[in-house]
Symmetry: C2
Subunit: 247 residues, 2 copies
């Protein structure tokens, strides 16, 4: 990995070190390989531990490194490309989507979701919890918020909660005529329950995708999906461009 | 701000502190207000400086706090909602977009971009640098990569570089019939030049939006746009839902 000294460089030291480390990852390490420990790396590059840690954090943000408790720092595989746009052309839970329904409960949504739904603060809605699996790994945790007015046919007796109830909510939702959707993506940090679901520590960087589902001229449902920022690259296709490019 | 002690809590200390601080931000602080310094805050909540810093980092990731050199830590305003989807239905530089063209040069694109363009490694293309302004602030830095084959009519003499040349490249691109586009969003860290353009430190978390523009059955251009993750929420609209909801 060389022993380049990074003293006396005009750009921030951690940034220069990040570049040196990034090149070393390209040329000398394989995906999954464990890096030497922090003390060893700091000594080798002639930097303080704090500087080394900043550089490692950069590379983790960029998806180049993974840090796992009990394992250490490893070279990350390329991020998964996760389709967010075209799955989105249907209702959540449409046939063939790669989400599993975990649970359902009645609860008041967060204030920002209540506002999106046009509901008053504190009014309970159906909250369906789902997990998106890709290559056998959980890549996203989702809460789907459905006002009672969107699923008037929901049988009152169909189990009081759990996955079966969640699937019943989705089935009722599918009766509505989906007119469109709006989506936002922003950086967030994983809440404790999402972190558990995604096998991360609370506060890990995540990409939060919020979607409004529009039907009958109003917002019929809202999803807040928390994607692992370390392993996911979200893809949005405006067109059937695979076909286009294949043609 | 209270003096809640956060000892002996089962969840990680920094995470509990983050929640306590978040509540305090909601109830006791106004947007733009400067927080007490780290030593003072650590003493008040009875935590180590390292724990406090972790909690502040979480809140910065979530867009609740901003840390600026020479100013300190302030309460962040709500993130800007930046439309990425529908601006995208046209070519870059279409009338009315809020990007300014800064520069243009000939250079070999990064390997990953060369691959998207179907060009061989090391072959130079036109690289146009642009900045997106929102409310008078730079929110994104962009590099637009255009192979010579996409702009065969580009006058060879129209200035050797600079913004004028960049605008000429965009004009030529607009002659092509745009068939569609594909977009990916992922977490990244700001490279030194983008950081400067966005008034951030190198390595600041950013949302990297990569777009392929499809024309004549191939990728005619690629943009890599670096959005400030602290101030931006990217919005994607699949439909003219404003009209829908207003109706």
């Amino acid at each position: 990995m060389g022993t380049t000294q990074v003293d006396a460089v005009p750009e921030p030291k951690y940034w220069h070190l990040r570049t040196v480390l990034s090149d070393a990852l390209d040329s000398e390490f394989a995906v999954g390989e464990i890096l030497p420990n922090e003390r060893e790396l700091a000594a080798r590059f002639g930097v303080a531990r704090a500087t080394l840690r900043q550089a490692l954090e950069q590379l983790e943000l960029e998806g180049r490194l993974q840090r796992r408790r009990g394992v250490g720092t490893t070279v990350a595989p390329p991020r998964f490309g996760i389709d967010v746009g075209s799955t989105g052309h249907g209702w959540p839970g449409a046939p063939g989507d790669d989400w599993q329904t975990d649970d359902c409960e009645e609860a008041a949504p967060p204030a920002v979701v209540a506002k999106m739904l046009g509901e008053s603060d504190g009014v309970p809605v159906q909250v369906v919890r789902r997990t998106r699996m890709t290559h056998g790994q959980p890549v996203a945790a989702e809460l789907l918020y459905v006002p009672f007015s969107s699923v008037p046919g929901l049988p009152a007796i169909e189990s009081s909660g759990g996955a079966a109830r969640g699937r019943a909510v989705l089935r009722e939702l599918h009766r509505l005529d989906l007119a469109g959707q709006e989506r936002t993506v922003e950086l967030g940090s994983a809440r404790a329950d999402d972190a558990r679901q995604l096998d991360r520590l609370p506060g890990a960087p995540v990409l939060v995708v919020s979607t409004r589902y529009l039907a009958d001229g109003r917002t019929a449902a809202v999803t807040v999906s928390t994607y692992r920022a370390d392993t996911c690259r979200l893809t949005f296709g405006d067109t059937g461009s695979d076909a286009l490019l294949a043609g």
